[in-house]
Symmetry: C2
Subunit: 466 residues, 2 copies
């Protein structure tokens, strides 16, 4: 139903251009109707994640892409040509779109910020058509990158200081996902990625060794290792499980003996199948006995926060983990219930009352109370203009009248922010199995501004700001 057939068929090429047409059609049909009826007032939309029992905190990511997109928001001639072919839109509306840019304000938590369900991570205030047209793009961009940064943080926590490397590119949900997983996991403390294009785009350290096919091509395992070492004498990590893991370790040692004679040391071996705990312990013993205590054991194969944690608890001798598919698609929770809701239009606060989908009306801010060591104690969702006392407001003005307020931070700054925040979040909230619920309250002032407040939302405790 409600199907509009378009005539344009363009053969795909390898470039994806993301612009205002990255949207659900209904954003445009609503815009057309607003335009027809001279509905031009200022609206505020709030972007937040509804509660899920799969995640106890979130790591904000994706704002850089959002700001870049808003900065250049513009319908091209080509876009307008396509919209014309749908037969849905008046010439007057299409002319209006031709001149449209983003002229509004964006309040947002900087990337790398730790936050919780129901807390707005971003709010847009703009003429309603502009604010509405962004919905699909904002949900997709912030939603996915936050999903992955959060999954990566869970892996980081589980690894207890051991380095993690993103290996997900081959199994991510498409091209953009692969690139963003590398960025999001780097924000959340990963050491490197196997993803070369992400290395190029973002300057993320890249990492890689060899596949089973390499060993198969040489046939003889020791010969394959020798060839690889020969090309990368400083960076040799040998994959030892193509035929038999323990045999593979012995072959690696044979080659490492020769390397040592030439003044090089074997950086590591990689395990990629079988019982990682047993094999890593045995490999460690063999390496140590053979005089290679410095050779690291690197493991990959279905790792996520649960398998990492389990391997460490069961005494696996693993020095670093390659984390692939289950990180790259956030396999245990492949989407977030992220929404973008109208909370204010012109001079009135607005919210939706559909069952189970209650929204907090009004422009908001999130205030974080901390102890003397800066550790996080409690968050309070309040009205934007509340005075926080010594609580820290988490959302910052990122865009004003369509212009950037501050330069976009570097990826390193973002990564550092995450690291700092993560160190201030108590262990009990980070537990990957049974996390405690971090306290999030709603300020009395914000509560007062909820007309017909049904009193049934999740954090009903009244707390006062400090």
């Amino acid at each position: 139903m409600d199907v509009y057939r378009a005539s344009a068929t363009i053969t795909m090429n390898q470039t994806i251009q993301i612009g205002p047409l990255f949207t659900d059609l209904y954003e445009l049909t609503m815009a057309a109707s607003y335009f027809d009826h001279h509905v031009t007032g200022t609206a505020t939309f709030s972007l937040y994640i509804r509660e899920t029992d799969k995640r106890s905190y979130f790591v904000a990511a994706g704002l850089e892409d959002v700001l870049n997109m808003l900065h250049k928001f513009h319908f091209s001639e080509d876009d307008l040509g396509y919209l014309r072919t749908t037969g849905l839109f008046s010439d007057a509306f299409l002319s209006f779109l031709a001149d449209l840019g983003f002229s509004g304000d964006v309040f947002a938590m900087p990337e790398g910020t730790i936050f919780f369900s129901d807390e707005p991570v971003l709010e847009v205030t703009a003429p309603i058509i502009e604010a509405q047209l962004l919905e699909t793009f904002l949900l997709n961009t912030i939603g996915f990158q936050t999903l992955i940064a959060t999954k990566a943080a869970r892996c980081l926590h589980a690894a207890r200081g051991r380095p993690l490397i993103d290996f997900s590119l081959r199994r991510t949900q498409g091209w953009d996902a692969g690139i963003k997983v590398a960025r999001s996991s780097y924000i959340a403390g990963f050491e490197a990625t196997s993803n070369v294009i992400a290395g190029k785009i973002y300057g993320i350290p890249i990492s890689g060794t060899m596949a089973h096919s390499f060993v198969s091509v040489f046939g003889d395992e020791a010969e394959a290792f020798t060839a690889f070492y020969d090309t990368f004498p400083e960076n040799a990590v040998f994959l030892v499980d193509t035929y038999d893991t323990i045999e593979g370790v012995r072959n690696a040692i044979k080659v490492a003996d020769n390397m040592r004679k030439k003044g090089h040391c074997l950086k590591g071996i990689r395990l990629d199948s079988g019982d990682m705990v047993e094999l890593s312990r045995e490999a460690r013993k063999i390496l140590d006995c053979a005089g290679f205590p410095e050779t690291k054991i690197f493991a990959s194969s279905g790792f996520d926060e649960f398998k990492i944690s389990d391997a460490i608890e069961r005494g696996g001798k693993i020095d670093a983990f390659g984390v692939g598919t289950k990180l790259g698609v956030s396999a245990d929770a492949p989407f977030l219930d992220i929404v973008y809701k109208l909370v204010r239009f012109e001079d009135r606060d607005v919210r939706k009352l559909s069952p189970g989908k209650i929204t907090l009306a009004g422009k908001k801010q999130v205030f974080r109370k901390t102890d003397r060591q800066e550790r996080f104690i409690e968050d309070i969702i309040g009205s934007r203009e509340e005075i926080p006392g010594d609580a820290i407001p988490l959302m910052k003005k990122a865009m004003e009248n369509g212009a950037l307020v501050d330069p976009i931070p570097s990826l390193q700054e973002i990564r550092n922010r995450f690291g700092h925040h993560f160190s201030l979040l108590d262990e009990k909230y980070k537990n990957i199995y049974k996390p405690a619920r971090y306290p999030v309250a709603i300020s009395p002032r914000l509560l007062e501004h909820q007309p017909e407040f049904p009193g049934s939302i999740k954090h009903p405790e009244k707390r006062s700001l400090p």
Copy 2:
């Protein structure tokens, strides 16, 4: 470990250029070592999906992107410049890459083909460096699009003829995923998508109505409906659950009465929350009593094949479904165990023997036996050069010496192929809860070519070709 730090940091813009750097680093390090050691022989790699209890069949998708990419495979100056900064690669190797294109052959199942686990969906034969460098890209591209086309086919089956519309863009895993979900679900019989950019790129019909915010802005529901109808008199579908669904239906009827006076009919109402079965039955009754039997009921809200099936079985009066997030991320199975394995190098068949990860050596073909009505009876994985009798070979030569063999089929042709195939697959294999296992055998000839065959793979029955 094995971390190479790159100096380049490029600010993201909204264009993603997918080329040879869309790869795991190890493809390049292996290539460098092959280059150093003059390993230049011809290799065949086989792309297939390992068995999963979540899916009983697969729908091939993604080949168009693959052929487009291979056709243009080329390292740009910029790519080479980045690789140089890593300090990993010799000038000689980088010069070699500068001149590299894809000169090999591709055998593949056309998009829209139904296939099964362990069956090769694509095989590449090329000089080993070329074939190896494609691994990550091929796995990502074929894997994701096949994942979604398969999920969409399951939804189609569950809907028993009712139209389905892709609503997933806001929650897909990134931008490319959103676009490819629209295409993959259209291949698998979806009617349309809400995704405007996919409509533009692929000519897929687009569809959309209004959001809750639209109703909130007008405050009065009937006023919002009237405004929308006013702009889209021929395409009005009203979202009725912003405040109270049944009230919403009554408001829709009020407006529809006025529309009728002007010669227009209300196409439909949309339900987006609450008990879809109960609400749709009540809404149907109210609409029918009020004299609007022609007004369709459209439902969205967490649908996937299971919820669609359940809603229909429980007597929901739903005429069409919007299928969003759970389709867009294939929520119950967000990745496939898809692999790309070396099966032949120079003149010998090759395979990996790692535990649980057995590969069938040699160049292959998949033969499908059908009955007189063309219905699928059994598949046989055989050697490429076997003579099939009256079984149908499913893989076709798509590229020869780096050139396309046939023009890339239109999306409509691909969709038709899927529709035809799907009609020939027995219901019992399509069951979304407890599907029967479709018989896949290995030809005696292929079995004979498995040196040291461990005899422990999944389909050990010996079957002869007809």
